[in-house]
Structures are given as structure tokens and as C-alpha cells.
Symmetry: C2
Subunit: 253 residues, 2 copies
DNA sequence: CGAAATAGCGTAGCTCATACGCAATTACGG
DNA sequence: CCGTAATTGCGTATGAGCTACGCTATTTCG
């Protein structure tokens, strides 16, 4: 029997309960929940061991009985913050399934904007993460893609969704800190600084008024943008499928 | 005359030189350069004001004469780390131009892996960033996309490239810290934990051996993956172009 | 009922960012 | 040529953060 890495075991809640000694008043799940609550309310930067402990009415150091380090806590948060993925309809095609899941993921990330700021410590290993992974693979199961390609498409999709959300989150934060540097003020600054000679294409876009919005961070606008970029990516996947469809069963790697 | 935000002015090196008083021994550019050198050599986490000051043979607090805060230093780094974008060939179509630029950006990010960990404080404002922006827009100038759509495509592309590189960088860091949890060991752990009943698609992929590599972080492999995902995205853009306008699908400039 | 195991937590050490104030240096006005 | 104003260099100090260590309190097993 192979040994399992300690962090993965913790993620799955696989530790034997202690039989002797003082009873724990908390669990790793409690700590994780409290940390998520803090992050939701005040951002990831507010998540300090002291802050989380205060939330639980415990002292800072007590948390270290449940969590090896702050990094480990972040890993736990990265799994616990996810909901169950949406169920795929039995009769859907791959594209509607992937779209459903991508929008569902966007929804999760909107409720936990700090998620995309978490450092990625490794490939997905927690139960919720793997469930999403499985569901995404299920949506692609009937395509002519081989297993390796399916994983590639899923990773590309996740990269895209995370990147999109990260950009959005950080722009929103920048907007909060510094509203003047957005929207029209930004466009005005660009006009002062962009030389039409050396950057003609950018100058043309600026002059066309693309940046003359009251704010660049506009929620429904960005949603439409997200959907459009997602569709472009999926168009590409579709084209790849079509090319692939002729010669089924090819196995790379 | 509109005023320009202070940080943008600094990015462009627009501050009047002081006429009286002790001569500065450094410039903001010197500080930025030293910070980049530290980040390249030891990662972004090693970039502390004290560390950068030591690199320059100055005291920590001296740096604050050139840089308002550490955040401002990071903003300066986000512009100074970029090279000039590659020149577009006069006879290329949009797709080869975009591909050239995307690979060029990948190259920059490979030499400065910390880049994608920088917090994004706002839309691009520095000279180098805008130059890349301009070049990307230039590559799309002859397509039937309107200005807003061009910006959308460019943003989507940047999101994708950054996200890809971020994933890669963080996995590499995780691999350094914790090599056992990658590759075959990861696959073995998955086999223990993934229930074929509740996650059949993932189980199938695991059993197919997709994760049975000596390491999941394999440079040429990830390059191919990047290129494949990029092509998928560009296929999508191409499909969008076709829908959008007739002809012009790949003309010279 | 002791011994062993385990939780709670106070203390303290280390690293950071950075506010503040003073001394050193330089240019300009007279 | 000197005084004054401006500006840099930097020591000190504050406060926040992570976490190693070790002591004490609590609980269970033999």
C-alpha cells in the first residue's frame, strides 16, 4: 500500500481521531470555514492566523493544532470554498455542458473573489476540486478527444476562467483604492502619453473612445466579455474536434 | 490641461529634477532594476525593501525617496521587466502576428516568472506595456473587428498567456518544495482517493495513465500544451472573424 | 490512581513595511 | 562669500505577521 501525502489526507478528512488527551474544541474544517468567512467579508489579505483565531474565540497558536501552517490553511480553503458542480443534463452536447460548468465556476468565483489570489501549490487534489474536474471531463467524454487532450482542454478552460476572474478582481480592487485612475481619467491620461507616431494602433483605439467609459469596471459589461471570450475558446475547441473527428482513436503521449 | 495621475507620471519618468539640495545617488529606475534582479534570482518573495536596498549598498529607508511605497515599486517593475515587443513582418496575416507576439510574451514571462504574481493595480499604463498593447492591436488592425472587439481579443489573449504562465510557475514552485506530490506519486494518490462510482470520468483518465509521468512539470510538454491552447483560442477568433465580415480573412498590412 | 497523550496558549524571535525626525549636503539669493 | 531653503541619507521605532517552543490543563487508558 502506497503512502498518501499528508496534505491530501487532510484535504479528505482522513486522520484517525485521537483516543487519549484533552478533547479538541475545533476541527480543521471549523478553522477553514472561519478563514473563508473572513476572506469573503474582508479579502484574502485580512486572513491572518490571529484574525481567524479571534473569529473562533481561540488564541492564535491554538490553530496550529489543526493546521500545520498558514499555507496548509490556504490549501484547505481552496477546496472548501467550492460548491458542488452543477449536474449535467442527460441530453446535452459537450458545448452546453462545458458552458454550464464554466458559468457555474464563474459564479463560485464571484462569491469568493479571493479564490484566484490563492497560490497554487500543486495539481488539484481535494474532493471538491476533483469533482469539478470529473464533471468537466464528463462533459467531454463523448467527443473524439483522447484522455490527454481532454485534460488539456479542461486545464485551458480553468486557466481562462481563473485568469479572467483574477483580472476582474484586481481591477475592482484597484478601482476601490484609486477611482480616479479609471474610466475617463484613464483615457485622458492615455491621450497625453500615447504618441500617435510610435503607437498608432493604440492611439486610434483611444481616439475611438473605447476607454471613455465612466468606469472600466462594469459588471454586466465584463460578463458579456467573459461569455464572448469563452465562446471564442470553445469555437476553437470545436474546430479542433472537427479536425480530430475524421481520425478517431489517435493516441498521443 | 488635465492633471496626470502621479504613478503614471513616474512610470514615464516625468518628474522635474530637483534644483536645490543634496544630489540623489540613485534613480527610481536604479531601484527598479535592482528589484528585478532580486526577483529574477530569488523570486518575488525575496523582494523586500531591505533586500533591494542592500543590493544597492543603501539603507532601507533611502529607497523611499525614489519610490512612494513597495506597491509603487511593483508597478514600476511591471513595466520595466518587459522587453520591446518583436517587430511584425510587413507581409504577415493577423494570426501569425498574434502568434509571434504571444510567443514573445511567453518568452518574457519565462525569463521573469515572478511577473504573473504581481498584483494588477490597474489597466496598463506604462510605456512598455502600452507598446505591447499597441503592437497587439496593430496585428488585428486589418481584421473586420471594430475597436472595442479588438481590445476584447487582446485582453482575452493576455489573460490566457498570463494564466498559463501563472499555472506553470506555481506548479514549478510547488514541485521544488514538494517533489513527491507530483507525477507518479500524485497519480498513485489519485487512484486511492478517486471513487470510480462518483467520479467515473476522472477515474477513466487516471487509469489511462495521463498522470503517470515522472513529473507533471515538463518544460517542452507544457510548451506544446501552450501552443495547442493558443491555437484553439485563435481558431475561435478566426471563426468569429468569418462570421463578422466577408473576405479579408488573412490579408497583408 | 498514576502515566501518557493531547489541547490551549503565553512568550518570544524573526521578518516586513513604513512613519518620523534629524543630520548632511547642495544650490541659490543677496 | 554666507545664510537659508530644499532635499537626500538614514537611524530609530512601531506595529503587524508567522511560527518555534515549552508549560499547563485536561482527558483517557491500563
Amino acid at each position: 500500500m502506497t503512502e498518501m501525502p499528508a496534505d491530501i489526507a487532510l484535504l479528505w478528512g482522513l486522520r484517525e481521531a485521537p483516543r487519549r488527551g484533552r478533547r479538541p474544541t475545533l476541527t480543521a474544517a471549523d478553522v477553514t470555514r472561519a478563514a473563508i468567512a473572513v476572506a469573503d467579508a474582508e479579502g484574502l489579505a485580512a486572513v491572518s492566523m490571529a484574525r481567524v483565531a479571534a473569529e473562533l474565540g481561540n488564541s492564535t497558536m491554538a490553530l496550529y493544532r489543526y493546521v500545520k501552517s498558514k499555507d496548509e490553511l490556504l490549501t484547505l480553503m481552496s477546496d472548501a470554498a467550492l460548491d458542488d458542480p452543477p449536474e449535467l443534463p442527460a441530453d446535452g452536447d459537450w458545448r452546453s455542458g462545458i458552458t454550464l460548468l464554466a458559468l457555474g465556476m464563474l459564479d463560485v468565483l464571484r462569491r469568493h473573489p479571493w479564490y484566484v489570489q490563492l497560490p497554487v501549490s500543486g495539481p488539484p487534489a481535494g474532493p471538491r476540486n476533483l469533482q469539478w474536474f470529473d464533471r468537466l471531463l464528463t462533459a467531454l467524454a463523448d467527443t473524439p478527444l483522447d484522455e490527454g487532450e481532454q485534460v488539456g482542454v479542461v486545464m485551458g478552460l480553468l486557466t481562462f476562467v481563473h485568469g479572467e476572474m483574477r483580472l476582474r478582481t484586481e481591477l475592482a480592487a484597484g478601482y476601490r483604492d484609486n477611482p480616479e485612475s479609471f474610466g475617463r481619467a484613464y483615457a485622458a491620461a492615455l491621450r497625453q502619453v500615447v504618441d500617435p507616431r510610435s503607437m498608432p494602433a493604440l492611439r486610434r483605439v483611444v481616439d475611438a473612445g473605447v476607454f471613455d467609459l465612466d468606469t472600466l469596471y462594469d459588471e454586466p459589461d465584463l460578463d458579456a466579455e467573459f461569455k464572448a471570450t469563452l465562446d471564442r475558446y470553445l469555437d476553437g475547441v470545436a474546430a479542433h474536434l472537427e479536425r480530430r473527428g475524421q481520425s478517431m482513436g489517435g493516441n498521443s503521449r
